[in-house]
């Protein structure tokens, strides 16, 4: 048994133990032990991965294992990781771990669904079989409905239904895209690496077929990555979800979208990616600016952060579509950085909401004096969000824009400049919000009695801040790990793009 499978087995064990656990204490023990084990596993994997790469392991995917599952349909249980999946697993480990502490007082059923969601997320990142990826993707989606619907706030039933249906609608596109890829490549293997390298019986997918299935696959994953104009589920969903679920959702689940776009759409359909990326580039650039501008006019803290997420996640897809190694490395860094900082943001917003019972920016004032710890954490999250040097956001956005500008043509450069404006807008909405709710004079006597964070809340917040600052201060090792794995994919895209432009006199 491959040790990567532990990422699925541990949550499975956690589900069983939760089922048997008695009392709040038992549930907490199971959750803390389980999520710590997952985090430790992710950290160990990262260390091992880096040392093995340094030791000369040059395969595209390391630690691969494959067991035939449905033989007649060529579906197998295949796992394996490259640099991208390793950092995504690390991110998921951190978010699940801190999310456990943030949802300290929740009941058993909540944690059952929460763990199921984590299982889907971890399973998705370790799989390299199309069927498995799709299955884990859907496993991660459905607990959302009950998590938001039962434990959420606001118009939760509406949001939960909207989110579930939109994402399931996207998975309909995705499923068709997967069939297209599978049968386009000859119907012999579902293994992503095999299809990409035309090994294991896979043939080269015809160009005309690629152009049909690329939009399906890209939209299918893109909806989860909050691609404009299919992002509307995300603000409602985030605003209504309970705190830890918002964290997990914005922090990890939306990354499934970006990761899938890169791993399936770009990796497996490289010619179509060259040919059609401009359409999606326009959409995502619009999304980046639109999300930032929408965030400016929000009065609800969660909505503000949700729209800011739309903008930042749009940036991920935008960078992937630039099809350069630097920009794609930036995209993965952005996923990591956005995952951490938005999780921190949602966590702190949730803690404030839990105390003040309002998330309305107009009703919150002068919190810095009342709850200094939360306020400082809030300010750090905000600053990371607007890309302050020294925190993770800066590194990611810088890489993205440098990488995007490497494309020499006017079209790409114009859109890069367009997307850059979102940084300015981000500064506007973040600084205005921080100034408004943290500083000034508190006018509400009820708010004067608020107490600051508990130990478990502090612990979660500090973990996240350490990670954000860590990436901001020492990003080198991470971007090495990522760009090593991004390079083969982009090289592949570039090489077929080169052939394409030779055969096509109009390019």
């Amino acid at each position: 048994m491959n040790f990567l499978s532990l990422f699925v087995l541990i949550p499975l064990l956690m589900l069983f133990s939760l089922w048997l656990a008695k009392g709040q204490k038992g549930i907490r023990t199971v959750m803390v032990v389980g999520s710590s084990a997952l985090l430790a596993l992710a950290v160990a994997l990262t260390v091992k991965f880096i040392s093995d790469r340094a030791g000369g392991a040059a395969e595209e995917m390391l630690y691969t294992a494959s067991f035939v599952w449905f033989e007649p349909l060529h579906i197998s249980y295949s796992v394996g990781v490259d640099g991208i999946s390793v950092v995504m697993l690390l991110l998921s480990g951190v978010i699940v771990f801190t999310g456990t502490f943030v949802s300290w007082d929740m009941c058993k059923e909540y944690f059952l669904w929460f763990t199921l969601l984590s299982m889907g997320v971890f399973g998705f990142f370790i799989s390299i079989d199309l069927f498995m990826m799709f299955m884990f993707y859907e496993i991660a989606l459905i607990p959302m409905y009950l998590l938001i619907g039962v434990w959420g706030s606001g118009h939760k039933e509406y949001s939960a239904m909207k989110l579930t249906l939109m994402l399931m609608g996207a998975s309909a596109f995705l499923m068709l895209g997967i069939f297209g890829i599978f049968y386009g490549a000859g119907g012999q293997t579902m293994n992503v690496v095999d299809i990409a390298n035309h090994t294991g019986g896979a043939q080269i997918i015809e160009f005309s077929k690629q152009c049909i299935w690329f939009p399906f696959t890209f939209v299918g994953f893109g909806v989860l990555g909050a691609m404009f104009p299919f992002h509307t589920w995300s603000p409602d969903g985030h605003a209504s979800a309970p705190t830890a679920v918002s964290m997990l959702h914005a922090g990890v689940l939306m990354k499934l979208g970006g990761y899938g776009c890169f791993r399936v759409a770009i990796y497996l359909l490289p010619e179509a990616a060259n040919e059609l990326s401009w359409i999606f580039l326009i959409l995502t650039a619009t999304g980046v600016v639109y999300g930032a501008l929408s965030a400016c006019v929000q009065t609800d803290l969660k909505y503000l952060n949700a729209y800011s997420s739309v903008s930042h996640c749009g940036m991920v897809l935008f960078a992937i579509l630039m099809l350069t190694t630097t920009a794609s490395t930036g995209a993965i860094l952005q996923m990591l950085s956005h995952g951490l900082m938005t999780a921190l943001f949602f966590a702190v917003i949730g803690m404030i909401y839990h105390r003040a019972h309002t998330r309305d920016i107009r009703q919150l004032n002068g919190l810095m004096r009342i709850v200094p710890f939360l306020s400082v954490a809030f300010a750090i999250a905000g600053l990371a969000n607007l890309g302050l040097p020294g925190l993770s956001g800066f590194v990611a956005e810088m890489t993205i824009f440098v990488g995007s500008f490497e494309n020499a043509d006017t079209f790409h450069r114009v859109f890069t400049i367009m997307a850059t404006t979102s940084i300015v807008v981000a500064a506007v909405y973040i600084l205005r919000m921080i100034g408004k709710i943290l500083y000034g004079v508190n006018l509400n006597p009820e708010h004067a009695k608020l107490h600051d964070a508990h130990w478990e809340e502090r612990f979660a917040v500090i973990c996240l801040i350490v990670c954000i600052a860590g990436i901001g201060l020492a990003p080198g090792w991470l971007s090495d790990v990522i760009s090593d794995s991004v390079a083969p994919v982009i090289d592949n895209v570039k090489s077929v793009g080169h052939l394409l432009s030779q055969s096509n006199p109009f390019k």
Binding site: P72, L73, E138, M161, T164, G169, A172, L176, F179
Partner: protein, 485 residues
Amino acid sequence: MDYSQFLYMHDEISLIAVIVILFLADLFLCGDRKSGTVSKALSLLPVGLLALQTAYIASALLCPCGDGMSEAFGGMYQNTPVMTLVKVVLNVGTIIVFLMADSWMKRPENQIKVGEFYMLTLSTLLGMYYMISSGHFLMFFIGLELASIPMTALIAYTKNNQESAEAAAKYILTALFSSGLLLYGISLVYGTCGTMYFDELAAKFSPADTLQLAALVLFISGIGFKISLVPFHLWTADTYQGAPTTVTGYLSVISKGAAAFVLFTILVKVFQPMVEQWNTIMLWIIIFSITVANLFAVRQNNIKRFMAFSAISQAGYLVLGVMGGTAQGMTSLVYYLFVYMVANLGVFLIINVTEQNSGKINISDYNGFYQSNPKLSFIMTLCLFSLAGIPPFAGFFSKFFIFMAAFNAGFPVLVFIALVNTVISLYYYLLIVKAMYIVKNDAPIAPFRSDCYTKTAIAVCALGVVLGGIVSCIYGYIDTLSYGL
């Protein structure tokens, strides 16, 4: 005449034996119901006998002799391993239905007609056996009638209930009408080809012959009534609502599944030269079945009516496997049938036990069901998720595979429409989940304990739903049998 060829029909003969034993037992043993142990043993008798018979016919699958194919009476009766497998699946479903029926049978008003229930149900099952194994249109027709007519009596089982009687009237009228259509189609076949043996027909068909095309259309319409595909579905909702819940469960899975399988075999075996024509017809029937049923299901409040529309749309997905008539389609159809059976019977078990204990059958009655009956609502959720195709439950796998088969057969647009429809279906299945978990209710259905037969059946269904997909050997096994049509 060589009488030994009767032995080829050992599946059917063993079922007839079960019916005869039950008939005699009903005649001689059920006169006095005083002794508790005797009556308990008697209530186990049908389930036990059917389980024995299932084991008997399944044993033929485990140790096949030759290629497992057999035919009798010059090809009127044919049997292949996959047909035996379908019979086993139907048997398992019937056993679950019998377990479900037990508490209902124990009601005082049903005491005098317990034997009838079992015998009628097994008679329809026998009809389905013959339908599946037929090699001749008359054999097929007799099987179909044997499967329909006792069904009417079952639907009208609670004869003093007006709705039940109405449902039966509706069913028998549409069933007769569809039989008429089918017979007319068969007569056209005989008129143009001069034979009704399946093996000989394929060579004599040609798509250019208008009369034969008419026969194809009439055949699909006739059997479309049984599977309740749109536009032949109009009887479904009223019949499902009016029939006793146990019978509704039986109707929605067993008779539908058998008919869908037969549709596949006859289209592939007999109407092979007209494959393009029937592909077109089935394409539109499937699109309409899935879409119309989904749109209607959204608006229902009575849970049995709701399940009727859900069943119509599931039937649409089921016959997706028919498209193109490939071996992959056959495997995924049988697999879908199995998975749909456990999930749908799981839902009906819970509807039934709730109705028996509280008399409530509206979706709004289920508000807050989780607070009062957490275990039942949890299993109901699993089954609904499976019906909606959510992983890791079996329904996800069966939907994925059947879409894959249709895609491979060359119908991507149809698959896309069906996929969009799964989102609508997810919406209405989630409405029930929402009612159970999210909607607050001051007076939810009071907590109750279900009897041990129901518990066993629910456990079987839950196990099937959870393991039916992950355990890949089920699909693999069906695939090894899907040959030799």
